[in-house]
């Protein structure tokens, strides 16, 4: 079970992204709190940079979630919406796994994250690539 295998909730195509992004932010906050209590580590250039990396991944996930939401609101072409949703899922999942790794590295512990095997992300990459490379339209999002 991991972030790469979480399902979409039917009727709420961005619920999974929102869920992952929310978890990513909570984990980041917890990790920041932990590290700030260790006076030496807040000066460590590699710890500082690690937070920079995590923050970037979270901001990308937030920006692509917002973009997919705009596509939905604007009633873009269905395939474009499906692809934007898939991209948002991938970005949120990546943000979550990046922050989870950083949490483990910087706190020595890893918060357990729930996942599922339904609707795996590896096929989102395929959906996006098949549309952009081969013009094959994805099935409509739910």
């Amino acid at each position: 079970m991991n972030a790469l295998t979480q399902p979409i909730v039917a009727g709420q195509p961005l619920a999974k992204s929102q869920h992952d992004l929310h978890n990513a932010r909570s984990l980041l906050d917890a990790t920041l709190r932990f590290v700030r209590q260790q006076s030496k580590t807040t000066d460590d250039p590699f710890v500082i940079s690690r937070f920079g990396d995590v923050h970037i991944r979270i901001e990308v996930a937030a920006a692509l979630l917002e973009r997919a939401q705009e596509f939905l609101n604007r009633h873009e072409d269905d395939s474009e919406i499906s692809v934007a949703i898939a991209e948002s899922h991938l970005a949120s999942a990546q943000a979550l796994s990046t922050v989870s790794d950083a949490e483990f590295e910087l706190t020595g512990q890893r918060t357990v994250l729930q996942g599922s095997l339904h609707d795996p992300l590896r096929w989102k990459l395929h959906l996006i690539g098949n549309f952009r490379l081969n013009g094959i339209r994805p099935v409509k999002f739910e």
Binding site: R50, I56, L125, H126, G129
Partner: protein
């Protein structure tokens, strides 16, 4: 080779953001046609630059009150990205011109603003003689400016002078005895100014980012601005310089990804795939999917960076400028990452035949590798993390 003064083609004046984007798309389509040939032959884009500045795109940031369109920095980044996707050397050349326009806005007198903004709207191009290859670090200058009653004299040696060879006016950075930086606007005909076409980098080959020597250059005081003030006080000048870098790199990524898809469609199927065509390969398809979302993520952050700069321009203070620096740094990291990734994946997904010299596809990687070196991404992670973890605001200079 040294180059003489540039002729001037009168520029169209662009009136709005949407027009700027449309003009950029039209120009990019034309620039794309011979981009590979120019790179291969290192043929400097003289005619293309005339067309570029005559289109009005070099004047889009001139504020409305001075007759320009005063477009948003979301638009500026989009324009540079569009041009860079077609030819990243052309996309890079106005980099310092645009940076100088903001320094003028922040630090020049009213009279100087009217004069130089007017010139830019007419079609004048600024080059740059900022960086020095022999000083201690990127922010240290050995070029000196000495003030007399009516004139100033500048002496020094510059490198990485992108755009100077093609410029009508070369703004040069020099420091006074208190180590404060000034910019002197030097006309191309000035007898003390020599522009040297010595750039032989393996990427961004047609930027002519060579050297400038300043030998007892004399300019009137009206041609000097106190550039240091753009950094003494919080202004968006650093983020503005940086977003243009990020936009060039994003453009390189976009161009490389388009090329990847074109060539991947024609690739042979791998023997173990059991497919008839390369484009049916599930792993190649997924790899394209990976590049796609990363490019879109970078573009989305680039847009956020533009918005953060616009907010800092509207209300410049320690916080808005720090925020703009941080978001632009995110765009910088992501664009460097995706430019290098896309221009390398290109070959993996297009197959061995794509490395043949006749395709010249390596120009995308050479351009990505060269341009992303402008300032190191490793210190951007640090900048972003230090703000998040410790609340430390980014240092204010032209690289943040």
């Amino acid at each position: 080779m040294t180059a003489s003064a540039q002729t001037l083609r009168t520029a169209h004046v662009i009136r709005a953001d949407a027009e700027a984007i449309a003009v950029a798309h039209k120009l990019a389509a034309r620039f794309a046609v011979e981009a590979s040939v120019r790179d291969r032959e290192r043929r400097l884009p003289v005619a293309e630059l005339d067309e570029f500045s005559a289109s009005g795109l070099w004047g889009i940031t001139v504020p409305k009150e001075y007759g320009g369109a005063g477009v948003s920095y979301v638009t500026v980044a989009e324009v540079i990205k569009i041009i860079s996707a077609a030819d990243s050397s052309l996309g890079q050349i106005p980099q310092n011109h645009l940076g100088v326009l903001d320094i003028l806005l922040q630090t020049a007198t009213e009279e100087q603003k009217r004069y130089y903004f007017g010139k830019v709207l007419q079609g004048y191009r600024f080059g740059n003689a900022f960086s020095e290859s022999k000083s201690k670090n990127a922010g240290a200058f050995e070029t000196r400016i000495r003030f007399d009653t009516d004139t100033a004299q500048i002496d020094g040696e510059k490198f990485y002078c992108t755009g100077a060879l093609f410029a009508h006016i070369v703004p040069a950075v020099a420091v006074n005895e208190q180590n404060q930086a000034f910019i002197a606007f030097i006309e191309r005909g000035n007898p003390g100014l020599t522009v040297i076409d010595s750039w032989d980098g393996f990427g961004q080959r047609t930027t002519a980012s060579g050297g400038v020597t300043l030998n007892a250059v004399k300019v009137p005081l009206s041609a000097v601005i106190p550039a240091h003030k753009a950094f003494d006080e919080p202004t968006a000048d650093g983020p503005i310089s940086q977003i243009i870098q990020a936009a060039v790199d994003t453009g390189i990524a976009v161009g490389a990804l388009e090329e990847t898809k074109r060539y991947a469609r024609e690739s042979r199927p791998w023997i173990d795939s059991g497919q008839d065509h390369g484009w049916q390969d599930p792993f190649s398809i997924a790899a394209i999917g990976e590049l796609e979302w990363r490019v879109h993520g970078t573009e989305a952050i680039l847009k956020k960076a533009g918005q953060a700069i616009d907010a800092a321009l509207l209300n410049a203070n320690e916080d808005t400028v720090a925020h703009a620096s941080v978001v632009v740094a995110q765009a910088k990291v992501l664009s460097a990452e995706i430019a290098l990734l896309a221009s390398s994946k290109l070959f993996e997904l297009a197959g061995t035949r794509s490395v043949l010299g006749k395709h010249n596809l390596d120009r995308h990687w050479r351009n990505a590798r060269t341009h992303t070196l402008h300032d190191p991404a490793r210190w951007k992670y640090h900048l972003i993390g230090n703000y998040l973890l410790n609340g430390v605001k980014p240092a204010r200079h032209a690289w943040n």
